[in-house]
Amino acid sequence: MGDGTVFTPDIGFVRGLKNSGADTMKQCYQCATCSTVCELTPNDNPFPRKEMIMAQWGLKDELSADPDIWLCHNCNDCSKYCPRGARPGDVLSVLRKAVIAENAFPRFMGTIVGNTSLLLIALLIPVALFLAVLNATGHLNIPAGDVIFRKFFPIQLVDSIFVTTAMCVVFLFSVSVMRFWKKLNVNPYKLMAHSMLLPHLLETLKEIFLHKKFQKCGANADRTWTHRLVLFGFIGLFITTNWAVFNLYVLKWDSPYLKDDPNILMILGSQAAVMLYYAAFKLFGNASALVLFIGSLMLFSNRMKDKGVNSVSSSFDWIFAGIVFLVCVTGLLSEMLRFANSAQLAYPVYFIHLVFVFYIIAYLPYSKLAHMVYRTTAIVYAKMAKRDVM
């Protein structure tokens, strides 16, 4: 025998991909139409044709080290022109899911979040946690009087749970990302020097915010706007949250934000200034929620149009779209029920809202949303390795 490369196919990995929705991948007959019509691939060693055969052969290690699956933005120009209905765009989406699960730390979290059938467990964890905390602090009841959420779930409790969770997430995710980077940084793209990280990171972020890659998409161009709305909706709500934290801990001004609070009047100087500040804060928060809500509706409509409701090819995507939608609905509903002063409904809906918020934050390293870090990392890496075309 010659001394060529020896591949070790992982049949379990292949089955896992097929169960996750890459059931079309075996249709591929390697004609390379996909690589040719793709506007995002580098010309040297292009994707996704090679990824299709790597997936068919179960080359898990090679795929984990492949930055290209993250350069793909699921435009599906390849799937449109694929002569075999192999849907390379969707197969790469499943491969990304596999890499997220592969690098998950701790591993079992990847299993819980990545597995559709374990969705209920993933949701029951925050439910149990919140109930335990409320019970231990004597808040497990519907408070009387006007609806003020902190009477039900004191803001200090919310903050301590979520800040702790967020810090854990940052730690756990950084472990995953370091593993991921180590896997990427092998031949043929092994980096010579690491000194160029920052400029490439800035360039990548600029590209992401301007949606430059999305704009090259043909078949699925609508997704540019969807992604814009979801991304900027999330960023808006992140700013809103920090603004509220600023109000609470710096200005000592808390929901329900009384306009005649002497402390805030003193800081801002006049009643008019307080009103203006309040309006700006509320407007920004509600606008962000609305932007995310519209984005989440578009996530649904894109998927229905593209793949049909019965498709199993993207359960991972569907769950994410569903959670984003529900976090918006419960959030906006909480606000409306608070205005309606309907305590019996407002508090339970608020509780559910917090559960979904917890899902998004705590499971970020393992959910579809993890792509925000993995993809950014891979693009930065690809740029450093002179791999990225943009």
């Binding site: 390697q30 390379a32 040719t36 010309n43 292009p46 022109y81």
Partner: protein, 420 residues
């Protein structure tokens, strides 16, 4: 004998398969009828420049077959004719045939005087629109029957009638009407063949937009001595002699969005067409872009011969994008060279799309009860007794295989006639 009972083997389609089926049955003593919608026999084969792998001209074999038809009173031929309906059962079919007016009768000698005076032109469908003919025209040099025909779509009719005035033989009748005839048939053989797949449907391959992208059948006509360019391979935009050419294989074939089946002959056809160019000038260069190459059995020798030519480059990878250089009008193909691991572009003088075979019955199956498979080919196993198919109507084939198939269809037709 079927003759005595006034019953024939009706063969629908007068291409090489249909002609062969009808002649073979007739030469075995059974009467046969060929129904051909074109004004001439020979079908796609008549349009070919050469056969692979021997590179001999198809006219040769067609001429022999036409002679066999002329000599055999048992073969009847209807051209410009379409089958309207097939009814009945094995041994006792009733086939209704509509004969469209040719506007030229049996007295025509094909002298061509009428062509000289005809004032209107039509796009020449025999040459895939690469040139024009007059409204009255001879379909091609070796037309059978050797009679002219008038295209009623463009002819000015009796208000012009210059051709009628000039014809010494009274061969032109502008008032000719369609007629219908009914034929008793013991069996019906579908030899309906194929049409080249409509290349404009592949929006990424530029046909119809990029001027110097042609189909493989157009290439046959360009290379043919009796074709629009008299055998010179000149590209459409500026009639420049083609020096570099790209063959795009599987253009529409093996593609669920177009033709799901493999058309089976396009690989050999492109290898053959590469020789057309290479023979024209030693400095020419051909690029053949393929997914897989289909050259089974003895055809492999032909493949090896072409591969040995240093000026024929074979690249594994399907072309999925063809653009036009705005200045030179050179087409530019984009492909992933799978073996080389690079996405590359190649500028050439002309691109030939190896468009596949779309079975004719897929789009024109009216009045018949023939059962087709999912790709539009006749499903030989699923037919009622006495209904047969031969050649490409059944599956994509080369001419050799079609001929064998045609002979076997003739035997089946004879069995239907004798069985009763």
């Amino acid at each position: 004998m079927s003759d005595e009972k006034g019953s024939s083997i009706v063969v629908i389609g007068g291409g090489i398969s249909g002609i062969t089926t009808a002649i073979e049955a007739a030469e075995a003593g059974h009467s046969s009828v060929i129904v051909e919608k074109n004004p001439y026999l020979g079908g796609r084969v008549a349009q070919l420049n050469r056969y692979f792998p021997k590179l001999c001209p198809p006219y040769c074999g067609l001429e022999i077959n036409f002679k066999r038809i002329k000599q055999n009173p048992r073969v009847s031929v209807y051209t410009t004719a379409e089958v309207e309906s097939v009814q009945g059962s094995e041994g006792n079919f009733n086939v209704k045939i509509k004969i469209n007016p040719r506007f030229v009768n049996a007295k025509c000698t094909a002298c061509g005087e009428c062509v000289k005076v005809c004032p209107v032109e039509r796009s020449n469908s025999f040459n895939f629109g690469l040139d024009k003919t007059k409204a009255v025209y001879l379909p091609h040099e070796l037309s059978y029957p050797m009679k002219l025909v008038i295209d009623s779509g463009v002819c000015l009719g009796t208000s012009c009638a210059k051709c009628v005035a000039v014809c010494k033989y009274n061969a032109i009748d502008l008032n000719m009407k369609a007629e219908t005839v009914e034929i008793k048939a013991s069996s019906v053989v579908y030899a309906t063949g194929w049409s080249p797949y409509d290349a404009t449907k592949m929006d990424n391959l530029g046909f119809g937009k990029v001027k110097n992208v042609v189909t493989n059948m157009m290439m046959e006509r360009m290379a043919a001595p009796n074709g629009p360019t008299k055998g010179k391979i000149l590209r459409p935009s500026d009639n420049k002699q083609v020096k570099t050419i790209a063959f795009v294989q599987c253009a529409g074939s093996r593609d669920e969005n177009h033709l799901a089946h493999c058309s089976s002959v396009c690989c050999m056809a492109s290898l053959k067409q590469a020789t057309y160019l290479r023979e024209s000038d030693p400095d020419t260069k051909a690029f053949i872009y393929y997914i897989d190459l289909r050259a089974p059995g003895k055809y492999e020798d032909f493949l090896k011969k072409i591969q040995a030519d240093a000026n024929v480059e074979m690249i594994k990878g399907k072309v999925a994008k063809i653009e036009e250089d705005a200045e030179t009008l050179d087409p530019i193909v984009t492909v992933e060279d799978i073996v080389g691991g690079k996405k590359v572009t190649q500028k050439v003088d002309m691109v030939v799309l190896a468009t596949g075979m779309e079975p004719s019955l897929k789009t024109a199956n009216a009045g018949t009860n023939v059962k087709l498979d999912e790709n539009g080919f006749v499903d030989a196993e699923a037919q009622a007794a006495g209904i047969y198919a031969s050649g490409v109507a059944k599956r994509p084939n080369d001419v050799t295989t079609s001929l064998q198939d045609a002979t076997s269809a003739a035997l089946k037709g004879i069995q239907s006639a004798v069985r009763r």
